[in-house]
């Protein structure tokens, strides 16, 4: 479908959802099931209620697109329904940011306002844990993002799900995205990853972030890698070209830059993307760098000189789409930012947060990178104490 036709169809579908919009009857028993085509209007209605017509993807609004996405396996939608057939909630496992075609995102949990005090969200999550995680064809890994201003999403990510914290996106989301939650400042989000299959591949760790990567690696005991440490003196072959893809999130003021291969033009690519982001008055630029090239060390130094700091090690983020399967996440703040409170549910998450925050402070000291404040007390991150829980499978039920 052409761009004009797709836009027209989206607008037509949204108009239809608006015309048929009705409030739901509260208090009915909630059950969950996998998506069927007849659920499409109910899913569209939910997105309309929560995002109005602003959600940047067409599928949720356009029934035939959502049905096709579910049929093809690009999206696996879970719906929560009540006795009269209404859709009161939804969640999804879906293709999103990772270049690895077998790494899907888990999230998009939306619940109708009449059912926010019900267990609908939990039931959707329970359905996913029992019927989807580790069982979907074509899905070898999952990632999720969990906000840090409260612990609910973090807890759902690790409880019975085997999602493990490996990255922290400092000040990722604007305060406006959480209007009504009474928070001030940009919201920080964890990245959690669950691996159901292990891909082989090289791992070239930049010398400057060796400590951080090696501290994160044992999170997945079965992740086997041929590891080398990349010296910053080793340059990419002359004339080689970086493989770069960029996505801008205007509402959040965030640019996500994926570098699947590091070429001799890497520094120019970084400078260009930063300049473009500054020109758009963005706040955060994230570089996801494939760790397969022997010259990752020099690339890391380029990013450090730009004020970049370690924000995570993401196993299999690139999969076969990068020169190495894994990604280093480096974040650059383009301006000083106020931060919403950062709370961590697990000791593993707290350790990731400490690594990231300490390196961000280094970037400020060494390269004058913009400050993010207030930062949490690093010694008190995993509070209250009863939540100081390890999220490893060895710890028991998880």
């Amino acid at each position: 479908m052409s761009g004009d036709k797709a836009l027209a169809r989206r607008q037509e579908a949204i108009a239809e959802l608006r015309a048929n919009y009705a409030e739901l009857v509260p208090g009915q028993k909630v059950t969950t099931e996998a998506y069927r085509p007849e659920h499409a209007p109910g899913v569209g209605r939910l997105f309309l209620q929560v995002y109005a017509d602003d959600y940047p993807v067409d599928e949720p609004y356009v029934p035939e697109l959502l049905t096709e996405a579910n049929r093809s396996g690009r999206i696996h939608t879970i719906v929560a329904r009540v006795a009269d057939g209404s859709v009161v909630g939804q969640g999804a496992v879906f293709r999103s940011s990772p270049p690895n075609p077998r790494m899907y995102e888990y999230g998009q949990i939306l619940v109708d306002k009449a059912y926010r005090n019900s267990f609908a969200a939990y039931r959707i999550h329970l359905f996913a844990t029992k019927n989807m995680f580790g069982q979907l064809p074509g899905v070898g890994a999952l990632y999720g993002e969990a906000v840090c201003h409260h612990l609910v999403t973090q807890k759902m990510s690790v409880t019975a799900s085997d999602f493990l914290a490996c990255g922290l996106q400092l000040g990722l989301m604007p305060e406006a995205a959480y209007a009504g939650e009474g928070i001030e400042g940009r919201v920080t989000c964890f990245i959690h990853i669950r691996l159901d299959e292990i891909l082989q591949g090289p791992l070239c760790i930049p010398a400057c972030w060796r400590e951080q990567v090696e501290a994160t690696l044992p999170t997945w005991p079965h992740l086997t890698r041929t590891i080398s440490v990349s010296d910053p003196g080793l340059a990419a072959p002359e004339g080689s070209v970086s493989s770069v893809s960029v996505r801008h999130f205007d509402f959040a003021g965030v640019s996500r830059v994926h570098i699947a291969a590091i070429g001799a033009d890497f520094a120019d690519c970084v400078a260009r993307e930063l300049a473009q982001a500054r020109g758009q008055d963005f706040t955060v630029v994230q570089f996801f760098v494939s760790l397969g090239d022997a010259w990752t060390g020099q690339a890391a130094e380029v990013l450090r000189r730009e004020g970049g700091f370690f924000a995570g090690f993401l196993p299999q983020w690139f999969g076969p789409a990068g020169n190495g399967p894994d990604a280093l996440l480096v974040q650059v703040l383009l301006k000083p930012i106020p931060l919403a409170p950062i709370r961590t549910f697990t000791e593993r998450g707290a350790a990731v947060a400490r690594r990231v925050i300490l390196d961000q402070q280094r970037a400020c000291r060494e390269f004058g990178a913009p400050q993010a404040a207030p930062l949490p007390d690093l010694d008190a991150l995993c509070q209250p104490k009863e939540n100081a829980k390890q999220d490893t499978p060895e710890a028991g039920k998880e």
Partner: protein, 78 residues
């Protein structure tokens, strides 16, 4: 079938409640005032539904405050 509050207390950890929190629960006191949160509570209810083959609607569950309340409810229906 009679189910005791102490039997249900043993299920708290299985539902994902932190061991320290679960072990300290007083069966006569409201669960939500003893450290269970908005994930623990539905997880515990879902486990009771599964374990005892009962239906526990949200509106009902929210009227059951203590483990003793839950034990009475389950005993009457299981």
């Amino acid at each position: 079938m009679t189910v005791s509050a102490l039997q249900l207390k043993d299920l708290l950890e299985e539902a994902g409640v932190q061991p320290q929190v679960a072990q300290a629960v007083d069966p006569a006191q409201p669960l939500l005032k003893q450290g269970l949160d908005s994930v623990d509570f539905p997880a515990f209810c879902a486990l009771l539904e599964q374990r005892f083959g009962i239906s526990l609607e949200e509106e009902t569950a929210l009227t059951l405050r203590s483990l003793e309340d839950f034990a009475r409810y389950v005993s009457e229906r299981a």
